[in-house]
Structure formats: C-alpha cells, structure tokens
C-alpha cells in the first residue's frame, strides 16, 4: 500500500463551500475519504481526480441508496477508516 501523503476526510455535501475548498486542496499522492453527506459526490457528476485515491464509508453509502454508483471509489468500513487515518502522514478533517 503506497503511503498516503495527506488524507482528506470530507463529510459535506458537494454543494457545500467546504467541499469545493477540499477538492481544490487535493494533491497527487493524497487520498480522499468521503463520509456522511459527502458520499453524495459519488452520484453527482464531478471531475475524476487524477492521482487521488478515493474511499467512501460503506454505511453512509448504503443509507443513501448509492450502492450501484460507487465508480472508482473503494468502499471501507469503520475499522478500515481508522487504518487509513493511521497510514496517512497528515489528516485534514474538512
């Protein structure tokens, strides 16, 4: 598992200004973890993120009925989410 430079944890819906700021801060080698309302980005038409690994919290995805549109995002459960935060050098909770 190549190391994660910065893990961005986002829980805001795509329209939220904080989501826009987060997308702007992503750098190649970073990872993006979508939780709560942010998983709606999986359904929304948004640009593909080159060089960024995208994860989504499975319970939030299921709650919003988004099972079939995960695209290239990897679904993770709560323990895996904790592992991601441990792996990353830096973590930003947006």
């Amino acid at each position: 598992m190549t190391p994660i430079h910065t893990l961005h944890i986002l829980n805001k819906a795509p329209e939220h200004p904080r989501s826009v700021a987060c997308m702007g801060a992503l750098m190649p080698g970073d990872a993006l973890l979508l939780t709560e309302n942010a998983v709606l980005a999986l359904a929304a038409q948004c640009s593909t993120l080159a060089g960024i690994r995208v994860y989504a919290l499975a319970p939030d995805v299921a709650a919003r009925g988004l099972g079939q549109c995960t695209g290239e995002a990897a679904l993770v459960d709560y323990p895996a989410m904790v592992d991601l935060t441990a792996q990353a050098q830096n973590v930003i909770s947006w």
């Binding site: 819906a13 709560e36 309302n37 709606l40 929304a44 939030d60 709650a63 009925g65 099972g67």
Partner: protein, 116 residues
C-alpha cells in the same frame, strides 16, 4: 393559504430536512394545502432502496411514504438537481413529479418555507 415546503438539505446529514417534513405533515393534517419541493442535495431524499440500519436512523423513504396519507398535495423534484445527481423517475419513490422550472413553482404558492 397554500404552502410550499422546500427541502434542499441532504437526507441524514442534518435534522433540518426532517423538521421541514414534519411541518409539511402538520399543515396537511390541518387541511392546509401544502406541497413539497426537493431541490439541490435534497433530491437525494427521493432515491429508492435506502438501507439505513448501519447508521441507525429511520429511512426517510418511510417518512415520505406517509405524505399522501397526510394529504400532501404533491412532491416535486427539481429537474436540474436530478440531472446533477443522476436521478431519474425510476430511481425515485412513487408519486414524484419532475419540476422543470422551480422558480415558477415558488410563485404559485402563497407561502414558501425552506428547511433549516
């Protein structure tokens, strides 16, 4: 006095949407003409097959199914927001009407209130 309740908040993330739905149901229960408009991230309320046991919340789908029983006149979904979230009428709960121009819709009601 016809009222339009607009839900632009995503489901589950905040309570604002549920409070607006309770307001709409209360109005309908007292025979006030009321309709619902879902727009922005709010259209995600209408998506079918919501499986909420893991997040330990009641599915908003169940809340919405009570709308006709309460006498809510219509449930509109903003067409542009549906495109943005790749939602078609088949993906949504029954009884939703697509609203091509929500700004016109707002003008048809004496009173409009937003969630949250």
């Amino acid at each position: 006095m016809s009222t339009l309740i607009v839900i632009d908040q995503p489901p589950y993330g905040t309570w604002a949407g549920r409070e607006a739905l309770d307001m709409a149901f209360s109005l309908a229960a007292f025979d006030q003409p009321v309709a619902l408009l879902f727009t922005g991230a709010g259209v995600n309320w209408l998506r079918k097959l919501q499986e909420t046991s893991e997040v330990e919340q009641k599915s908003v789908e169940k809340n919405l199914s009570a709308a006709p029983i309460f006498g809510v006149e219509a449930m509109y979904a903003d067409a542009a927001a549906c495109v943005r979230y790749r939602l078609t009428l088949e993906d949504m709960v029954a009884g939703v009407v697509m609203s091509e121009s929500s700004s016109d819709l707002l003008n048809q009601y004496k009173h409009t209130a937003f969630a949250g």
